[in-house]
């Protein structure tokens, strides 16, 4: 059974229809790369799955449960699906460790000792155990993003959504974040990531989704999509892309 | 009713002036003193209640009573038909002559003489109501929020004339101010009454009885001696 099932998803901002009917099924353990031009709706798609945007039409099922816009359903959803942002969005007033502990304690009512143990474990996992007490502004961009990943992982989600998580990083820091993601993929985490790193997508992803003007224009395994793009739009996109 | 409430709670709340010597002003310790305050003490004594004084201004003393913030207004309150519509009055407890006052070198003999002049008065006071009636159209009436304002305006020369009580003027002169107010003419003889909430007959009867007794036994005359330096007029 698919873990995330998106059916005829539509989303409008005012008169502007940004998602025009998206269909996509994602199996547990799949690693999906979403590519496409700026403005094609990639971020909006991810944000819909995480309930950050309300859906106008269509349905999203996560682990069999329908996404509904009330607080109870949203909370249930977000416990299953974590999200990581381009701008890291660490909480600047909390240390790295506290960033990872906070939502466990607040949302899941985990005890402090247990939350702290989990935080240390997850920071360890992203290679930042020694930065437990550092504040976000004492960390490099790459480190901040890895804390953000740890923070999402601490909620033990069954899938992670990543929206251009390396785009705000200086080139020399991209690799350290991608290494963490690669690790996660290898461990079997279900991942949906918007990315411009075509080489990474090719190496790590099980499927590539090409979005164009609010639609899923082409889907397929990376070898197919990158080597033999069927539509002219994808060809054009890859032509001046980074592949 | 109000009377039994007072006797039960054993507290009498009275609105008194604090800007209107000799009826009410403050000493160097800021405690209220004056004719009205002594009157309030007398009534509280007779009712066997503890006295709670609330300083009020001329403009807001009636609302204080209307809104039940005080039980009585003993604040050199004059009686007129408008006021009688909204509150009740006791019998008179103090004499009061409203007049227009000004410095000696200003010649004004009667209401007509106010033409073209500026007169300060306390808004909502009896003087205000009466002066508004008698003053000629081209006289300017400046209305201040309270007697503090009126007196300050006169003393600081903001208005050449004020309408107020004779005793008030006398009290001002007694303090040797920069400007001495002299009586120019009398507006109205308007003795002071205690204001009561409308329809509280029992309270009114009780207060009237206390006033009558105080007149008879000379205790009211003593208050008059203290603050007005004269005996109570016989017509009161």
């Amino acid at each position: 059974m698919s873990l995330i099932a998106v059916t005829e998803l539509k989303k409008r901002f005012g008169a502007n229809e940004v998602l025009k009917g998206i269909n996509l099924d994602i199996m547990p353990g799949e690693v999906i790369a979403i590519i496409g031009k700026s403005g094609s709706g990639k971020s909006t798609f991810l944000r819909c799955i995480n309930g950050l945007e309300t859906v106008d039409e269509g349905s999203i099922l996560v682990a069999g449960a329908q996404l509904l816009p009330d607080e109870v359903h949203l909370k249930a959803l977000r416990l299953k699906v974590g999200m990581i942002f381009q701008q890291f969005n660490l909480f600047p007033h909390l240390s790295a460790g506290r960033n990872v502990m906070l939502s466990q304690m607040v949302v899941k009512k985990t005890g402090k000792a247990q939350a702290e143990a989990m935080a240390r474990r997850q920071l360890e996992r992203v290679g930042l155990a020694h930065k437990f007490d550092a504040y976000p502004d004492e960390l490099s961009g790459g480190q901040q993003q890895r804390v953000a990943i740890a923070r999402a992982l601490a909620m033990e989600p069954i899938a992670l959504l990543c929206d251009e998580i390396t785009s705000a990083l200086d080139p020399e820091l991209v690799a350290e974040v991608l290494a963490v993601v690669r690790e996660l993929a290898a461990e079997g985490m279900t991942l949906m990531m918007v990315t411009h790193e075509m080489k990474f997508a090719r190496d790590v992803c099980s499927r590539v989704v090409f979005m164009h003007e609010g639609r899923v224009h082409e889907v397929g395994p990376p070898e197919e999509v990158f080597s033999a793009p069927k539509t002219v739009e994808l060809q054009r996109f890859l032509g001046h892309g980074h592949a | 009713d109000a009377l039994s409430t007072i006797t039960e709670r054993k507290v009498l709340r009275v609105a008194v002036p604090q800007d209107f010597p000799p009826f009410g002003s403050v000493g160097t310790d800021m405690a209220p003193q004056g004719y009205d305050i002594d009157m309030a003490k007398l009534i509280a004594d007779k009712l066997g209640a503890k006295l709670e004084l609330t300083p009020v201004t001329s403009a807001n003393r009636v609302p204080f009573l209307q809104t039940g913030k005080v039980d009585l207004v003993i604040s050199s309150l004059g009686k007129n038909p408008d006021r009688e519509k909204v509150i009740d009055f006791s019998t008179a407890y103090a004499p009061f002559y409203n007049g227009v006052f000004g410095p000696a070198d200003l010649a004004v003999k009667d209401a007509a003489g106010l033409a073209g002049k500026t007169i300060g008065v306390t808004r909502g006071s009896m003087e205000d109501l009466e002066l508004t009636k008698v003053a000629p159209a081209d006289a300017t009436i400046k209305r201040y929020e309270d007697n503090n304002g009126t007196i300050s305006a006169f003393l600081s020369g903001q208005v050449p004339l004020v309408a107020t009580g004779n005793v008030v003027a006398a009290a001002i002169i007694a303090r040797n101010p920069p400007k001495r107010p002299e009586m120019k003419f009398l507006i109205k003889n308007s003795p002071c009454y205690i204001g009561l909430p409308k329809g509280e007959t029992a309270l009114k009867e009780k207060v009237d009885a206390i006033i009558a007794e105080a007149k008879k036994d000379g205790s009211l005359n003593k208050i008059s001696q203290t603050w007005l330096k004269s005996d109570l007029p016989t017509d009161l």
Partner: protein, 219 residues
Amino acid sequence: MIEFSTWDILRNLIFAARWTVLLSLVSFAGGGVVGLMILFARISKSKALRRFAIGYIELFQGTPLLMQLFLAFFGLGLLGVDVPAWLAAGSALILWSAAFLAEIWRGCVEAVAKGQWEASASLGMGRLQQLRYVILPQALRVAVPPTVGFSVQVIKGTALTSIIGFTELSKAGTIVTNATFQPFTVYGLVALIYFALCWPLSRYAHSLERKLHVAHRGH
């Protein structure tokens, strides 16, 4: 008749300033609590609550504090509530401060990056949890200087309560003026006492603001 020495005047004024301070503290603290509730309403998801908060703020910022005091004092009394002067003064000042504080704080909440809302939402926090653990701690930092600055307005606002008969510093000023016939001295002293209360707060707010700016730049 009684004579006031300058010392008598000053002594009485300072004595009355106590009430100014007390009333300011009560209004500011109460205004903070009510203001926080108005703030929550103002940034709530419910349109009705937001409307209410906007109306509330518009009403209290768009009418004179003096009128609000009159209404609280005389109005509530007529509606059957017995309001002594200190209560009317306190509650009017609380409601008034709340409107301004809510608006000041809204600016601070909006200064927190949108990503913070989204990140905390995606971690499963409810709206109140987001506010409590993520947004307010950050907003607080920028909120302190303007809040301290506003406390000066509250102190000055208490002067108006003299008009409904609350004997604080200003009222004492008018009373003493009338007992001494020295308006220049008395109001001069009253002004100085207010200044002594307000100026340190103004300076403090100013230095806090500067520190914040420096911290921001160093970021």
